[in-house]
Subunit: 331 residues, 2 copies
Amino acid sequence: MEFHPPYLLFLGDARDQLAAKTANGVRVWRPEWCLGQFRLDGCEADCSVPDMSIEEAAAAGVKTVILGVVSRGGVIPPNWISELTKALELGMDIASGLHTRITQIPELLTAAQKNGRSLHDVRHPTREFDVGNGIKRSGKRLLTVGTDVSVGKMFTSLAVEAEMKNRGLQADFRATGQTGIFIAGRGVSIDAVIADFISGAVEWLCPENDDDHWDLVEGQGSLFNVSYAGVTIGLIHGAQPDAIVVCHEAGRPHMRSMPHFPLIDLPTCIEANLQAARLTNPNVKCIGASINTSNLTEKEGREFCDQVSQEINLPAVDPLRDGVKALVDNI
Amino acid sequence: MEFHPPYLLFLGDARDQLAAKTANGVRVWRPEWCLGQFRLDGCEADCSVPDMSIEEAAAAGVKTVILGVVSRGGVIPPNWISELTKALELGMDIASGLHTRITQIPELLTAAQKNGRSLHDVRHPTREFDVGNGIKRSGKRLLTVGTDVSVGKMFTSLAVEAEMKNRGLQADFRATGQTGIFIAGRGVSIDAVIADFISGAVEWLCPENDDDHWDLVEGQGSLFNVSYAGVTIGLIHGAQPDAIVVCHEAGRPHMRSMPHFPLIDLPTCIEANLQAARLTNPNVKCIGASINTSNLTEKEGREFCDQVSQEINLPAVDPLRDGVKALVDNI
């Protein structure tokens, strides 16, 4: 799964800003790739880039149209298909993060074939993977883990990548979810891989590299989230991380969508992740915590991070408010 | 995935006894279901049940033809297809454990449709599952875990089921791999499920039940096998076991196919599995160890089990040589 910037963000008739969350994430992290957005009548989302027609996007040099939006009712409406067909005819590829596969829409398939263009369903891996073998690879890897889903693992990985690049280090973000894949231009939707091949897919995603090169591997799920722990442990074993950062949301009342599960405490979470990670890298270390404190005032957020830092005896930062310098310093 | 005994074991032209390992497992554990075997010229396997033609099997009342064999080169040869087509025409269903899908062979699909018969690819789940929710279900569950793959988890689960039924307890073996599925007549090939749905598929497999009913859930992989730990932790979380039995092979030199990974010691293995299992069942207990000592003499095997028993302070048995009474006594 690999596609090429620059992008047009296709927002269609997104019902609100949240429906365009993925497109917005791409715009935040790769503004230089996002030449414009395409909006139909009734679109209530705005990614703060110039509005463009399909023709204008082609003229501006867009290579890939990004479908990073939730459509109404989950299906792709006919007026989207005619615009997307036009994009293919004008020489652009399409990459979609929708559950519905664009590679199964006959009009788009035909137009792509006729014009020699590519269609990518980023939620659905197309290649086969080997089973993981756990053999040590050269290069360094950092994996974000967490107390739960949606606690800032992608954000933290990208912030660490940016900080490392600022310091002149060799660093690459490795994407494992749809938004991350648009941001990296490649990756694997790891939760959509067949169970037997989770760690093998991760080994493929972050292969051997220069000794001083860092892969920043986007974590998924949590060892303490019963829905997704299989994905998480496969990521841990496949990434064989040298460093982990534990991510957490301050004040989350219980595991997401599961009021019957309390959140795990950070020291227990860190130790369980290190224990799993030692299987493929006995030298793994936790270098700190990344806390989303957006539910708190800035002062409360700082106090919360200080408290966590004392509890785990490691740096704890809000990556949005504080940046991640303290984490990278501790590698 | 559910199909009906009695069975005809289709061995085709299996090159040796090992190629018919799955069929043989079905014959060992469900002899009353195996009315006969079907062998072509050159077949070097024998499941010690009467040889039958397809016509004889139909006349004997066979309901399902079991393809529990490894074909030469992994493909299904034309002379198998003509015999299998005949089986469909004579009113039998087919269940296959081959990697190649029989549901994608046009001749078989046509014959199945024409005759109102079913084709089952037991390695390939056909239904969709919800993500796991971890909500406590009524009924009791025992899960087999292990130091590695192929250490006797299916054998142990089936032995415990038999012992419980002997004692008049309500007990059901729940199959998660191809041989187990033929033995149970239903189940889920858990390693072929999409990563996001591993624990959800297990929740579906062993649903709520009577308070005194035991599900004996067939384990897969190992938390310490980097290739398959994702499958294993999903099984643990989804099964929410009340009891676990740890399985091990005496004298295995290293993790299967991975000389770079030593075996884990049993106390560490037990504690890691209990730790993972406590997330969905805080009262989980390890009730003992099941050791395959077939590499040792009977005397050495007994000594090995005694030594393990002292080390873990729990019963340790070879299920083939000693039976599993000591394990069931300790529930």
